[in-house]
Amino acid sequence: MKAFTVSKAVTAVMLAGLVLLPLYSHLSGNIFILTLFTRIVILALAAASLNLIMGFGGMMSFGHAAYLGIGGYAVGMLAQEGIGSGFIQFPVALAASALYALVIGALSLRTRGVYFIMITLAFAQMAYYVASGLARYGGDDGLTVYKRSDFSGLINLSNRTQFYYLCLACLFGVIFLIWRIVNSRFGLVVQGLRSNEQRMQAIGFPAKRYQLVCFVISGTMCGLAGALLANNTDFVSPAVMYWTRSGDLMVMVILGGMGTLFGPIMGAVVFLLLEEFLSQITEYWALIMGPLLLLIVLFGRGGIMGMLGRVGRG
């Protein structure tokens, strides 16, 4: 194991860039870039949570955007009902996501492979339709969050810089947690189940229980991203749960490198910057993005982290 590798260097530069970004934004007076990167950091958090079950756990969830919606609606609905305190909103968002993950996971984990991909997709669509039917909370049109979560003087979410650092802190916290999980006994069991479930069961591990716990942890993390996202856009609508959003999250994970700690952040940064960049060149950016995805799948094994690793080995 070498101390210095290309992928490590690139990761370090990227993380330093994320930490120093508000400074750049402040000096250059470019406020837009801070707003853009707040979104990127939040979606990187969602992608990292998906990576925990997809990359390390081998559970290909195609309905991860549902948690973005659940976390967001928890904040939006409580705000609508006059409960503005973040100390209530955020725990409720996390608990709701965990509960949803527990129910969905218990049902979905009875299946495997492509059935699992499809059943998670179908459940997320179900959540989407439920949100569309919430007439009291805007239905199809979505719900405007008039006041961001109030942390009573501890941190002011309406301040761009403070909010950005809150999101970044959440992202680093989640990455740290994932790192601890992956290297714990629990994490090793989950990774063992990814490689060979039958063998792990034969040794005596209750496979489904381990996978379900991992699934719930991941969903709860993504619910946090949802609560942050609703605060960022001051708005939550069923569209955040639409299945293409789940697809976007999957793409970020694969693009960055599945099963690597920092890959999802890399993937989110590259994917969202590319989307931003292409949409500035042409209105028809998806015309380029679509085939690009196809090429990445066909030729870019292991995502960006994999490619950097190959560069490092020469």
Partner: protein
């Protein structure tokens, strides 16, 4: 009574339409082991082709035939240029690559046909209501959809169970390497199956087009229904897809039609009218959840090994 018969036929019609879509999906999955999210895009392309060709030729039937051919060709080109390279890869790769194709198709349609939807007008002889029972009339076009879809289902069954090509397809589904070793041109067979699936999706799209507007993204919602169907029916099983499609079509249509009234008898008016739309769109997903809890492999698993 009138309403019940009408909704029953609507459910049957919707179910048969879903079957056309699900059959292609399940064939491609059963034989090539390929998860094709872009199947909904082929459905959309069928509808756009039909609207365009019908406007050119001035004839609905001619337009529909041309559109069918065009989706077949499109499917074959798609298979040869892109999807062929995905066989044998991880399912996740399929999902991502075909997700990219959806983005591409949606954007290409926006570029060519513009963001506004198209309409596909029906010829007069298909718009008249037909008496089916004394005192009950039903639109001729919906009856025509039922007839065409049933005919296609029958042809598909005979084609797969009674012809040489069908035999090869079934053989390919149960053991890929073996039929290659026996000197069958697998590549050609795969291309053919994919083209067939594309044509079925295109047929579903062009038949649905006069009922709904032809618009971008029309294939996505119905694609998810088709996935639900093949999961319920058992992936790779055409018989399962047929039964599950009718079942899902019925439950969805009847649920939307009668659930609000049923709920109103149990709940108060306001609560019922908010709960009903959400509950009726959830029905089929609940059904799927129940099926998967009881039989994780679907109702009719294609090949047990």
């Amino acid at each position: 009574m009138l309403l019940v018969v009408e909704q029953f036929l609507n459910g049957l019609q919707f179910g048969l339409l879903l079957f056309l879509l699900a059959a292609g999906l399940t064939l491609v999955f059963g034989i090539m082991d390929l998860v094709n999210l872009a199947h909904g895009s082929l459905y959309m392309m069928g509808a756009y082709f039909a609207a365009t060709f019908a406007a050119w030729t001035g004839s609905f039937l001619l337009g529909a035939l041309l559109a069918l051919g065009a989706t077949l060709v499109l499917g074959i080109v798609l298979e040869m240029s892109a999807l062929r390279h995905l066989y044998g890869r991880d399912h996740l790769d399929h999902v991502l690559a075909t997700f990219g194709l959806i983005l591409f198709f949606n954007e290409a349609v926006r570029l060519i046909w513009g963001p506004a939807g198209l309409a596909l007008p029906l010829p007069v002889w298909l718009t008249v209501p037909v008496p089916i029972l004394p005192g009950i009339h039903y639109p001729a076009y919906r009856l025509a959809i039922i007839a065409v879809a049933l005919l296609v289902a029958l042809l598909l069954y005979l084609g797969v169970m009674r012809t040489r090509i069908g035999m090869l397809i079934r053989a390919g589904a149960s053991n890929r390497e073996m039929i290659g070793a026996l000197g069958i041109n697998i590549k050609l067979l795969y291309t053919l199956v994919f083209g067939l699936g594309a044509a079925l999706a295109g047929l579903a799209g062009l038949m649905q087009a006069p009922i709904l507007t032809v618009q971008i993204g029309m294939g996505e919602n119905i694609l998810i229904l088709a996935f639900v169907i093949i999961v319920i029916g058992g992936i790779g099983s055409i018989r399962g897809a047929f039964l599950a499609a009718i079942f899902v079509g019925m439950i969805d249509t009847l649920g939307r039609a009668f659930l609000p009234n049923l709920l109103r008898q149990v709940l108060s008016g306001a609560a019922a009218s908010t709960a009903a739309p959400a509950l009726s769109s959830m029905l089929i997903y609940l059904l799927m959840a129940i099926v998967l809890v009881v039989r994780p492999e679907g109702l009719f698993p294609a090949n047990r090994r």
